[in-house]
Structure formats: structure tokens, C-alpha cells
């Protein structure tokens, strides 16, 4: 068990010694009992830090935001940012380091191990509690969560309320860290690619029916893109800013402003968006599941990324977020890569 006091003390020390600019962590939420991200600049505020199974967010996202702000302010040097990182957050940081998006000295990683549990899936929890508002959730150390509600405690098996990505997590211990709290554990409760099994086994037509129904729901709100720590491109292929087509764009210019994917909301374009996003995340997605969590219409976006993660792992023996020195999946190759798919 991680003693939150240690974590707070560490954050306080970092701020007192002015080793970091601020500490990114989690604090108690105000709307629901789920925690929210906290940006702690004052040592006194470190008392607000929490670490519990409601800390779902991938804080690595804010490191990319920080980097963008630094570029905008034209800062070249700066103090690092402290970040409380779970296993998945730490993997995300490794991928960002691998891509040289920022340097290792720009970040001070306070690792926290998930210690065999993980974080809760709010949707699952709400479904199980049938509308009762949860007040607190505690892991009993074996296989159940004790969820406190107004009408007393409910005991729920961990496998039923943990987020899918935590059940399938392969590295719940933050490998990349400056300091780390919690026990080192390996693997999740289920097979790493468990959620793909049913869909992969189904027929082509059934797969299409499933995905068409899902994609037709898409609002193109781009929440999945906004929340993704890997989607840090200044300009996205689906909505070009520099080469926008506006009412005063001349016909000749229009012809040169190729739009690979339209903004219009229809099956084909929605597939285009999601498939391109999945391809862009091939070998980079570290399965933090944030895209799926924030989706307002519950599209299982994570499955697309998971599928490519599986292919990368099984065919190319590539695991994203393990080595910040290794070349990325699509910028490297091996002579013995599979050749059977080629005529």
C-alpha cells in the first residue's frame, strides 16, 4: 500500500527546494467522487494530493501541453515538471521521450505502482450501483472493492469495476521514474488482449455491423484526440488549420487544399478519422484507455488501438513505452519481418 503521506512529503520537498515548476497529481473531485488532475504550485497545497483507484487520468497529456506553452513563450530552459505517474502514464512519458518531444530533464517522475488493482471504470460502477452515488471505493487487498454509498457499503468483485485497460495491463509498475512508491507487480488480471478476442473471432460481416453501428454514433467532437497524450500534432489531418477552405478561397486554391478526410459526419468519413488515428497511434499507443473513457457516445475506440498494439507485439515483437532509446515501430524494420501478406 502506498502511504499518501510519503507522496505528499515528496511533492512538498520538490516544491520547497524549487526543484520543479509545479507538481502534476490528483486531487479530490468536486462533481463526483472521481479524482481530478491537480496542478500544485504551492508547497502547502500538497496536502490536497490523493492517490486512490479513482485517479483515472493520464497526466502525461499535460506534459505535452506544457511543452506547447513553452514553445509559444519561446522558453528554451526551464525547471522540470513533477508528475505523479501510474504505470500507463510512465509508458506514455517514455514514448514522448522516445520521440524527443521533451527531454528527460524536463520531467521529474514520481512513480506510483497500481499494485495489482488499477483504476475504476466509472461507467461500470454506475451501472452496478444502479444510480446510487458512490462516496468512496477501497480495495480489500484480495479481489474485491468496498464501495461506500449513502445506503451502506457494497462489495463488488474487482474484475467487475476495474477499467478494461487495468484488467489487461501488462506493466502496472512505472518503469521510468525518479522516485517510486508501491510494490513492483507484473501483469493484470486478464490476458493482455482479452477484449479483442470476441470481435476477432467473429465473421467479417459481423465485425462490420458492429463497427458501423459504433462509428455512426461518432459526433466528431474529437474528445479522443484532445485527451490523448500522443495526439500532440499542431495540426491534425482531419481538420487542417493552415490550409482551411473558407468562403473566400478561390477555386484554384481549393484544388490544392487536399482534404483527405472531410469533417462531415458520415460513416465513411468517421471510419477515415478513427482508422487514421489508430494508424497514427500504432506502436505509440500505450493503452491508457483515455480515448474510450472520454467518448460521449461510448465508442470502443480503445479496441482499434489495442488491435494494432497486438499486431505490433505478436508480429514485430514491439512493445511501446518500454524503451526510450529504441526506434519507433514504423520507423524501423527487421529483415525477418513477415512477408507472407505480400504476393
Amino acid at each position: 500500500m502506498i502511504d499518501i503521506k510519503d507522496l505528499r512529503k515528496q511533492a512538498r520537498e520538490l516544491l520547497d527546494n524549487e526543484d520543479v515548476k509545479y507538481v502534476l497529481g490528483f486531487q479530490k473531485g468536486t462533481a463526483t467522487f472521481m479524482s481530478t488532475p491537480a496542478f500544485i504550485t504551492e508547497a502547502a497545497d500538497t496536502e490536497n494530493l490523493v492517490w486512490d483507484p479513482t485517479c483515472v487520468h493520464n497526466l502525461a497529456l499535460y506534459l505535452t501541453e506544457e511543452r506547447k506553452m513553452r514553445v509559444a513563450r519561446k522558453e528554451t530552459e526551464g525547471k522540470p515538471v513533477g508528475i505523479v505517474a501510474k504505470g500507463c502514464d510512465s509508458r506514455a512519458i517514455v514514448v514522448l521521450l522516445q520521440e524527443n518531444y521533451f527531454k528527460r530533464q524536463d520531467v521529474h517522475i514520481i512513480g506510483v505502482s497500481c499494485e495489482g488493482t488499477g483504476v475504476l471504470d466509472e461507467n461500470k460502477l454506475n451501472r452496478l450501483l444502479k444510480g446510487k452515488a458512490p462516496l468512496n471505493a477501497e480495495f480489500d487487498g484480495v479481489g474485491h472493492f468496498l464501495v461506500a454509498t449513502k445506503d451502506g457499503d457494497v462489495k463488488i468483485p474487482a474484475n467487475e469495476i476495474l477499467a478494461d485497460r487495468c484488467l489487461e495491463c501488462r506493466a502496472p509498475y512505472p518503469a521510468e521514474h525518479d522516485t517510486v512508491y508501491g510494490e513492483k507487480v507484473d501483469g493484470g488480471r486478464l490476458d493482455p488482449f482479452h477484449s479483442l478476442e470476441a470481435l476477432e473471432a467473429s465473421a467479417v460481416g459481423d465485425k462490420w455491423d458492429f463497427w458501423k453501428e459504433q462509428m455512426d454514433k461518432c459526433l466528431r467532437c474529437y474528445a479522443c484526440r484532445s485527451v490523448c497524450p500522443m495526439c500532440y500534432c499542431e495540426e491534425c489531418v482531419v481538420d487542417s488549420i493552415t490550409f482551411m477552405v473558407t468562403p473566400d478561397t478561390l477555386p484554384g486554391q481549393k484544388a490544392n487544399r487536399i482534404k483527405w478526410i472531410e469533417r462531415s459526419n458520415n460513416t465513411s468519413e468517421n471510419f477515415g478519422y478513427h482508422l487514421v488515428r489508430a494508424i497514427h497511434l500504432a506502436g505509440r499507443c500505450i493503452d491508457c484507455g483515455e480515448c474510450q473513457r472520454v467518448c460521449p457516445v461510448d465508442i470502443p475506440v480503445r479496441l482499434l488501438n489495442k488491435k494494432l498494439e497486438k499486431e505490433a507485439f505478436e508480429m514485430f515483437d514491439y512493445e511501446p513505452g518500454t524503451d526510450s532509446e529504441a526506434p519507433s515501430l514504423v520507423s524501423s524494420f527487421l529483415d525477418e519481418d513477415p512477408n507472407d501478406h505480400i504476393l
Binding site: 470481435l199 476477432e200 467479417v204 460481416g205 459481423d206 465485425k207 462490420w208 455491423d209 458492429f210 463497427w211 458501423k212 489531418v237 483527405w260 478526410i261 472531410e262 458520415n266 460513416t267 465513411s268 468519413e269 471510419f271 477515415g272 482508422l275 487514421v276 489508430a278 494508424i279 500504432a282 482499434l304 488491435k307 494494432l308 499486431e311 505490433a312 508480429m315 514485430f316 515501430l329 514504423v330 520507423s331 524494420f333 529483415d335 519481418d337 513477415p338 512477408n339 501478406h341 505480400i342 504476393l343
Partner: protein, 151 residues
């Protein structure tokens, strides 16, 4: 009023798939040229697009072609070791593999998207690949899953 002359078709009209091929300039495109100058026969269903290297083919091209109604897509490059840019085709091999798996995962028929190695000397292989590809796509019918509906 004149009656329209009755037209009787003796041959049942069959579906003619439209196939987009992305051919690398140095090998496959030259291979298709060789097929042409050698007067080899192959189905006219192919729309060839020459690219500088198979490694330069973005997955967006593939999705865009499906979006615009391609019934099948073939990406073709130099044999391993023959790339004009030394290693472009190796990158393509990985990338195309991932795209193939992804479109199969979302339920598009995997037969619709293929990759081949065709060298500049393999005009015969080009005609064979195309002929087989067309015959394989024909029973599948038009690709309407990823085609954009502009109605």
C-alpha cells in the same frame, strides 16, 4: 412513335471492379510498362498511380481510395533488397501489414487490399497479380462499406 429496337444481351453483364494500384516508380511501374510493351493482356480494371516509393504510401491514401469507391487496392513495390531508396519497401511492408490488419478488424473484406513485390522485369507477374486480383474481387461485388455516400 418508333419502337425502340430491342437489345438482347447474350453475355450477362458482370460487375467490373475498379482497382487502384499504387506502383513504385522504379520497379512495379516499370513492370507494368513491360507488360504493356510486351503486349501482354490483363484486365482493364486497373487505375495505376505511380508513386516514388512504396514506403511513401500513406495509409491515408488507402483510406481515401476506399472512400472514393475503390473496389480493391494493390500496393506494389520492389522486392526486398531492390529498393531504389535502399529500405523504403521494408518500411512499407510493416506499415501495409498494420493497415491490412486494421481494415480487416473493422470488417472490410481483407481480399480488397493487397500488396505485392513486382520488379521491373516481371511484366508477366504483374498481369498475373492483376488478373487474379480482379477475379477475386468480382464475386465480392462493389465495395460500399467505406465508400462515401454523397446522396
Amino acid at each position: 412513335m418508333l419502337d425502340k429496337p430491342e437489345t438482347k444481351t447474350t453475355v450477362e453483364e458482370q460487375f467490373e471492379p475498379r482497382i487502384i494500384t499504387f506502383l513504385c516508380k522504379w520497379c512495379s511501374s516499370a513492370g507494368s510498362d513491360l507488360a504493356g510493351v510486351s503486349r501482354m493482356e490483363y484486365p482493364a480494371n486497373v487505375v495505376p498511380i505511380t508513386v516514388m516509393c512504396s514506403g511513401g504510401i500513406s495509409p491515408v491514401y488507402i483510406l481515401s481510395a476506399f472512400n472514393k469507391g475503390a473496389d480493391g487496392i494493390l500496393v506494389s513495390g520492389c522486392h526486398p533488397g531492390d529498393c531504389h531508396y535502399i529500405k523504403g519497401n521494408y518500411y512499407a511492408r510493416r506499415k501495409i501489414y498494420l493497415v491490412q490488419k486494421l481494415i480487416e478488424f473493422v470488417g472490410l473484406e481483407p481480399e480488397r487490399f493487397k500488396m505485392s513485390w513486382i520488379s521491373a522485369a516481371e511484366g508477366a507477374k504483374f498481369t498475373k497479380v492483376i488478373t487474379d486480383f480482379v477475379e477475386e474481387i468480382r464475386p465480392l461485388g462493389p465495395q460500399e462499406k467505406l465508400k462515401v455516400d454523397r446522396r
